[in-house]
């Protein structure tokens, strides 16, 4: 069964209630009754298996075998039986690794399959997946999907998945339920039936419905002067592991460059290096077109000189939040630049309006939804009007509504003459905004 609904409709809450991990009465109110196998879910531990969105916070132990065994241990299963189940579950999800393989060395897709194996080893009758592929690259999405497909073929357990990219799961489910924000069920039926009836309204509420793809505006490209270029640039991770070398690229005002490539190819590191945040391992970054009186190496600019020249938007918005309210957050940049308060307030209101954040100005940034956090992190970079914007996975895990808002915004910025560099896995996004694409090869494995 595929569980759909607009953001805030309570999909995750329902799934967590089914898994019995919602917490006690002091953490919220419960009306009505929810029974799994005729008992309250807290008593049915092991009958329900839950896989969540974030791969990193689901790995529990340091070795692959131990991690899968963890759930069985908690259920009090005998030792021989545990290891039999561990091998069987790893087989089922297609993780062909030694039992003492370090979990820290798994890719995102492998981590999610490991979490799935850990859940399967408990032999649940009900399998719950809460956006299991939202944080994965296209390769990881396929890995997890195929693993789930294999598992469903072999067992007859009930399966519920939350996901706003319908196309990933639609072939595996025989029922779609749409929740209504504020309570109640909006639609419940076979995939064809529900999509035929509710497809358009689902697409409008942010669900990725294959028949109703989000629209992307068309623009006239008029390249301006070159703002930033690199010569034979090499980048390395903290600790000196070289990821890429010999990267030569140019970014002109009013154009968008997409940087693509598999996980671990050093895309994010390249982005940080271009943004004057990391030192290059070799070669150089020449931002003469942005310098305006400063040196050409952005790494040597002061932090407050950087914000009016290059805006960096990180993959995880939470890393960038500094203040207690959205309004304060937006005002950080202007305050650093000592802009007059009245001007700052105007600019904040203006940008909040443009990015649909006006109603949230008093909220704490950490309490926002994923899409709101993304819009806020883009706004914090835009507020100081940098001519170059560096975006790391700006559309990752976003619903189709936020996606089309972002694409519309970036298109406007490009037309106004801003240059964009976007690191992304999202082929639709590349097609919608990029004028050039730099595809990185996987990093050479060196020891």
């Amino acid at each position: 069964m595929l569980l759909l609904g607009a953001s805030g409709a309570g999909k995750s809450t329902l799934v967590q209630a089914l898994a019995g991990v919602l917490g006690g009465e002091d953490e919220g109110d419960q009306l009505g009754e929810l029974l799994v196998d005729g008992v309250r879910p807290e008593r049915a531990r092991g009958r329900v298996g839950l896989v969540l969105q974030d791969p990193d916070s689901q790995v529990i132990l340091a070795r692959v075998g131990d991690d899968v065994a963890f759930g069985c241990e908690n259920l009090g299963i005998a030792r021989d039986e545990i290891w039999r189940r561990v091998r069987e579950s790893l087989d089922a999800v297609g993780l062909d690794l030694p039992l003492d393989h370090p979990t820290a060395r798994l890719s995102g897709g492998q981590k999610q399959r490991l979490a799935l194996a850990g859940v399967l080893a408990m032999r649940p009758g009900l399998l719950l997946l809460d956006e299991p592929t939202a944080n994965l690259d296209p390769q990881g999405v396929l890995e997890v999907r195929d693993a789930v497909a294999r598992v469903l073929d072999d067992r007859d357990s009930t399966f519920i998945v939350i996901e706003h990219r319908i196309s990933t799961w639609i072939d595996l489910v025989d029922r779609v339920v749409v929740l209504e924000p504020g309570g109640g069920v909006l639609a419940d039926g076979s995939p064809d039936e529900v999509l035929a009836r509710e497809g358009r309204s689902l697409a409008e509420s942010g669900v990725w419905v294959p028949r109703f793809p989000p629209r992307a505006p068309v623009r006239q490209v008029t390249p301006g002067p070159t703002l930033l270029r690199t010569e034979q640039l090499g980048v390395a991770r903290a600790g000196g592991v070289s990821l890429q070398s010999g990267v030569s690229l140019q970014v002109a005002a009013g154009t968008a460059l997409a940087i693509t490539g598999p996980n671990g190819s050093g895309k994010s590191t390249l982005g940080l290096t271009l943004g004057g945040l990391l030192a290059p391992a070799s070669g150089r970054v020449d931002a003469a077109g942005l310098a305006g009186g400063l040196g050409t190496d952005p790494l040597r600019w002061k932090s407050r000189e950087l914000v009016t020249r290059i805006g960096s938007v990180f993959q995880d918005p939470e890393h960038q939040f500094l203040a207690g309210t959205v309004r304060e957050e937006l005002a950080v940049g202007p305050r650093v630049l000592r802009r007059p308060e009245a001007e700052t307030a105007d600019r904040v209101d203006d940008l909040a309006e443009r990015l649909r954040l006006t109603g949230l100005l008093a909220a704490n940034p950490f309490t926002l939804s994923g899409g709101e956090k993304r819009r806020l992190s883009v706004a914090t970079a835009l507020i100081t009007r940098p001519p170059l914007l560096l975006l790391d996975e700006p559309t990752f895990g976003q619903d189709s509504r936020t996606w089309s808002e972002l694409v519309a915004l970036f298109t406007e910025l490009l037309v106004e003459g801003t240059a964009l560099v976007a690191i992304t896995h999202d082929t639709q996004f590349v097609a919608a905004i990029a004028d050039a694409e730099l595809s990185l090869e996987p990093a050479a494995v060196s020891g």
């Binding site: 991990v21 069985c72 241990e73 990180f314």
Partner: protein, 262 residues
Amino acid sequence: MTAILTPVRGTQAIFRVNPVAKLGAALILGIALLLSLDWVSALVALSCEVVLFAWAGVGARRLALRALPIVIAAAFAGVTIALYGQASGAIRFEFLFARISDGSLALAGATVLRILAIGLPALVLFLTVDPTDLADGLGQVLHLPARFVLGALAALRLAGLFLDDWRSLELARRARGAADRGRLRRFAGQAFALLVLSIRRGSKLATAMEARGFGASTRRTWARPSRFGWPELLLLAIGLAVAAAAIMAAILAGTWKFLGGQ
């Protein structure tokens, strides 16, 4: 991500000894050497230990590297005591409050030896401990509560993620224009942000663990047996022997001072 919980593996016998026994041996040595503050017991213990390090499963280079902080701390403590320790006997050098005497020099030497004699074996034993095995041992051999032991183990794994978070936070602050402020204020702000992130991560991990039945009322089983047999008893016996030899030598040499008494 940065991993600080990678499995510790090696071929030598010491890697197979239950971590609980290593904890015990380090504890025995530590307590025995804290009973007196003389240099003979510390020197004897340290000499025995240096010989035993040959079987410790840690290469000389790696040992030297890891031991560096302990050596520096010992040297620092030694210099401080030599300069400011209780003066007795002939005075060798005097400047303001600093006074180097025969008595303070002897005390300094004994302290340096003691720190090394307690610190080095603890370091060597723990370099060969896999945290997962230690948790298994604490749970199965010492019967500490599983909730506590495994909760701590899982939290330890998150520490590696915190290192990555910290780096990202640092770069993000520069990108936001907030990196020119005072170092101290920036550090405080960043530390608070890390705290917020870690609490969020921790609660997500707790949900994932709970979803796998952790903390349920069922009696837990252990997938990995944690044995306590002859090799473990042998290690404890070695620890006891070194401690006994050190104390005997000090008593015979007449330098033994119980708990630093006269």
